[in-house]
Symmetry: C2
């Protein structure tokens, strides 16, 4: 009794990714005993060829990006990765090598970040490759971080450098030069800030995926605070600096950063620096929350409010 | 500060579906306290327009089917629904009324089956509508049912009638008449067998989604048993009977039944009948497991082995 091709494909490429609770992908569903005394953090992201990645991107990078954008959400909640479920809707005729590359990228990153495959569904599609990944993480009750919770007076902080992903997309589109390849790498391969122990330190937090200004707007709305940030304080990479100041709006409103955006009460700053140092993650304060209706003001060099066409990415 | 259209769409249509743990869909992730003393059952399914449903199917039925195919997987494991995460990758220009109808179908069925939305992701796609749904259920440790576990001598049982969904697809394709609309309904709207307390009764189980013969093959492989079923014992609806005997192969190898396929030791048959009666679900024995390499034989009226072109659906 031979396996139909769909199931043989799953056995070849995806079974090696399966971990505890997956029942070796031989069942309809995973069976998980939740770690005692922990809460679960759950999030899901979809990625579509032609929207979130290019159809000819290296498949291992597509797999790694799919996992990493979700790991980034967990990191922003202060959660530890546990496992994931995945759907792959692939055009008929997708070469076996694509699946092999995709799975090898997942294998590499699930080892690096400590999670395994729990289950999935593989289907065909008459459209572009469409992927989704649901990830589960664990957090100690009381130590999860949310978009809500920021107060007037809290500093606004980011990890790493902002805008590289958005500039990398411009590189991919042929609109910007990138001699080192740094920006394109940043677009293709987010660096989720897993392991940054922000629980009990940040009053609010999220990852920056749709553009700093728009995402800060989400945090302000959820926390019912206003925010002012200084454009010059937003950390930029050397490659972004070389791109020039005409890319300021792209940097601050473009997507694909996957850095963390945190609100931190001044009294917690020493703890923030200690946690950042412990995990080797650079942090920078870019502004402050203040009382008022939810709003985001970006100040230029002379304290003037900068106006942007849009705050960030919207699919519709 | 107005919401970008993507987030206003989520607020309008999906926030009303959100329940405990969802943080009102205002955060990056859900936060769930697992029910103490329970295990979690997790499963995911993708649905693509043009593959799993027709682009012009009523949107409320698309929503209900998306939820129900996953509920069916939970039912097959003996699990109780808890909550779900969802991705919607929609073509740009999808009318607001489609999202409203889709969400109303989900609302209706999540009330009927007892689960709520935990989180999701809404994106655009240049291709057909692509959906995924990850569902979580709970089960008492030791009472979950799996594809593995069947033994020689166990009866093979199914719920309801088999083949209506596959015939309904033929109706939708204009290849079969269906005066009553019964078959088309069965294709569009599965009836997940949620609430059938099969834990401790069935030695193995799964739902039939890709065709009885192929799915029984999965159960045999996972359980390392052979199976023989009698074609004449496989329950069929009145509408399927009217379609005629030339549809036998379609009925036994077509997909979209979403009935349960169970292996039940003879000693558990009284308990099976009691559980079936308690939930009003008809069950029928269609064959038996026996020792031998994994295989599925379908016997005709005179005990001859029937040959089919294929056992069921494969996406590739």
């Amino acid at each position: 009794m031979t396996l139909p091709p769909e199931f043989s494909l799953i056995a070849r490429h995806f079974r090696p990714l399966a971990g505890p609770g997956s029942l070796d992908l031989r069942d309809d569903a995973a069976l998980l005993t939740p770690p005692p005394g922990k809460q679960l953090v759950l999030t899901v992201d979809a990625m579509v060829a032609g929207v979130h990645f290019f159809a000819d991107d290296p498949p291992d990078q597509v797999g790694r990006k799919l996992l990493r954008v979700n790991l980034s959400d967990l990191a922003a909640k202060g959660a530890t990765p546990l496992g994931y479920l995945m759907t792959v809707s692939a055009p008929r005729g997708t070469p076996d090598a694509w699946f092999a590359g995709f799975a090898s990228g997942l294998a590499q990153d699930q080892a690096a970040f400590g999670c395994t495959l729990l289950g999935g569904d593989t289907t065909s599609t008459p459209g572009p490759m469409s992927l989704s990944l649901t990830i589960l993480g664990t957090v100690t009750p009381g130590l999860s971080v949310h978009r809500f919770g920021a107060s007037a007076g809290d500093g606004i902080w980011v990890t790493g450098t902002i805008g590289d992903g958005a500039l990398g997309l411009q590189v991919a589109l042929g609109k910007l030069a990138d001699g080192s390849g740094f920006l394109l790498d940043r677009y293709r391969l987010p660096q989720p800030r897993v392991g940054f122990a922000i629980g009990g330190i940040a009053s609010a937090g999220m990852d920056i995926s749709d553009g700093l200004v728009q995402d800060l707007g989400h945090l302000c709305r959820a926390s019912n605070v206003a925010a002012t940030i200084e454009a010059a304080s937003v950390p930029m990479s050397e490659a972004a600096r070389r791109a020039g100041s005409e890319w300021l709006q792209t940097r601050l409103t473009g997507g694909d950063d996957y850095e963390l955006l945190l609100a931190v009460p001044p009294a917690h700053e020493p703890a923030l620096h200690a946690a950042a140092a412990a995990s080797g993650i650079p942090v920078a304060r870019i502004g402050r929350c203040h009382a008022g209706p939810p709003s985001v003001v970006v100040e230029g060099q002379r304290g003037e409010a900068l106006a942007f066409d849009k705050g960030g990415w919207s699919h519709f």
